[in-house]
Symmetry: C2
């Protein structure tokens, strides 16, 4: 049987529940590390970090580390610390992203930078980033350190690349994929790969899990970028239309723009430059996205990467872990509906 | 002969020249690593990093790594990459500091965040920070990684601590020393200590060089904080009076405040809160600093730490390296005159 991505209309809605169930006992240990290691004698640090870390979020990346370790039947505990390190890197980039974007909301709450100020958000991000390296050093694997330090550099490059592309309607699909490959997929890939490193499963399994994580990460981001034009603030944890107002040239915009008439292209150019950001403009943008099937085709692209993720782990024996990792991909896609 | 810190009026003005001369050939190699490793396919990264890195700065921290390695007669080259890593950490913190402080000037030039924007400064800082860890991983010493990841976390804590203390006139000298010990001296200490790690000189020498760097770092910062009230923008590379206007409670202010009358204390409190930031207020602040000998006593405190730095390396055989490290301390103090 070939696993394929469920399409709309099938009976059961894919969910993260199997993955959550699979990793629940170990996730408690990861959470204990996270809570323990975000402490500091400077009260503002746990206060601000806690706002974001304790405040929910799916813990998607550490969950992937745990699930991949289960897939490989890794019996040890080293990956708990490393999963926490991955979450710290992610949290640090979220804090800095919100400063960079001037975000109002994050995970359904007021963004940390608005409550605590940009300076504190920058510095606590730096602290969590340093702390993540301390955790890796404690584990002691140079290979893991190499994977995660490289991923961190790639994430930062991707963020700068995104900043450079912001408001540039001429951004190509290739460049967009390069950006999300760096800013999002690199950490998904690293989170999965390090499970194979601690399990000492060999280069082949490392590459397989890296590919699973990378493709899942791309699919996730594509769906996120689609959702930004369809959902409302209550479900997303951020305001719908944020990308539109921030002039972020995501794939839905790229597709609608390249398929549009000269007048419509002019609209997109002006919108991305920040000259068309009213509610009426956003409503018109949504009409154009529908007219050119830009959202559905973005989801189709996501489904392509999701399928690649599933195929990357096709050679593993069936079981709870493989099923959970597969359904996580289906969940990533299904969020769009 | 006991080395002591030169006081004003002695014949030769201490300078960094002996240190610069000592490390010049090796510093070229460190600079080559720095220039090579700040590259990226995203043009904004080398452009922004180059503004700060190529734009001068004393390269004090990598210079210390090189000079300490010379003191230990280390014959290898490993420390070139690590000295570059130290400079990257320092540059990343400068970029983030300027965002945090809203600085106008840095190293006598317009601050990077003003030219390239805060978002780019935050993200390129993150990139350089990640790159520094990649350099350390290439070197492969877990001990060095531990020292520098810990120093980075301590620096971030110190910066948050400073942020918390900002505008708080009640900040004690103890708390101030704790802050500068973290935000400045921790990296000086680490830069020196890692030389002993690569030279495999043993725990005793590591501790000695750590103490040298830490005390020198504190002396440096104390003198910097004194200079902020005495120099003009042309010599400092930043505007004189910046700390006053930013409400940074440095030792000169702490001393003048605790020695002042209730009215004068009220002035300092209002000034630190940002309600007394005119040129006249700054002039009055300088009068109070003179009245209570606050600048001279800050320098005296610096001299104390400088002496401790010199004594920390007293047991090393005399030679070019020891002389250069000693004069670097004298130079740190003499800058105040």
């Amino acid at each position: 049987m070939t696993a394929t991505i469920h399409k709309l209309g099938e009976q059961r809605q894919p969910s993260l529940d199997p993955m959550l169930k699979l990793v629940a006992p170990e996730m408690n240990k990861v959470n204990a590390v996270i809570l323990d290691r975000m402490q500091s004698e400077i009260p503002l640090i746990p206060e601000l970090a806690g706002h974001l870390i304790a405040g929910g979020g799916k813990r998607m990346r550490p969950m992937l580390t745990l699930a991949c370790a289960r897939l490989l039947d890794y019996p040890g505990e080293r990956h708990h610390k490393l999963a926490a390190a991955v979450e710290f890197i992610h949290t640090a980039t979220l804090l800095h992203d919100d400063v960079v974007d001037g975000s109002d909301m994050r995970r359904g709450k007021t963004a940390a930078n608005l409550i605590f100020g940009n300076p504190a958000a920058v510095l606590v991000g730096d602290f969590l980033f340093s702390r993540s390296f301390e955790l890796m050093v404690e584990d002691g694997s140079l290979k893991v350190l190499k994977i995660l330090s490289h991923a961190s550099a790639v994430i930062a490059e991707g963020e700068v690349n995104q900043l450079t592309a912001q408001r540039q309607i001429a951004t190509s699909e290739e460049k967009y994929l390069e950006i999300i490959g760096s800013k999002t997929a690199a950490l998904f890939a690293a989170a999965c790969r390090i499970a194979a490193v601690v399990a000492e499963s060999g280069e082949g399994q490392e590459t397989a899990l890296d590919a699973y994580g990378r493709n899942l990460g791309i699919a996730f981001q594509l769906v996120d970028d689609a959702i930004d034009y369809v959902s409302d603030g209550a479900t997303m944890g951020k305001d719908s239309g944020d990308d539109f107002r921030d002039g972020k040239v995501t794939l839905p915009v790229i597709l609608a723009h390249c398929r549009g008439t000269p007048d419509e292209q002019k609209f997109w150019r002006e919108a991305m430059l920040g000259n068309r950001v009213s509610d009426d403009d956003l409503a018109y943008a949504r009409i154009l996205l529908r007219r050119y099937v830009a959202i559905d085709d973005t989801i189709d692209r996501a489904r392509h990467y999701g399928q690649r993720a599933i195929d990357a782990i096709a050679h593993f024996s069936p079981g709870e872990a493989k099923a959970a990792l597969t359904e996580a991909v289906e969940f990533a896609i299904a969020r769009a509906y």
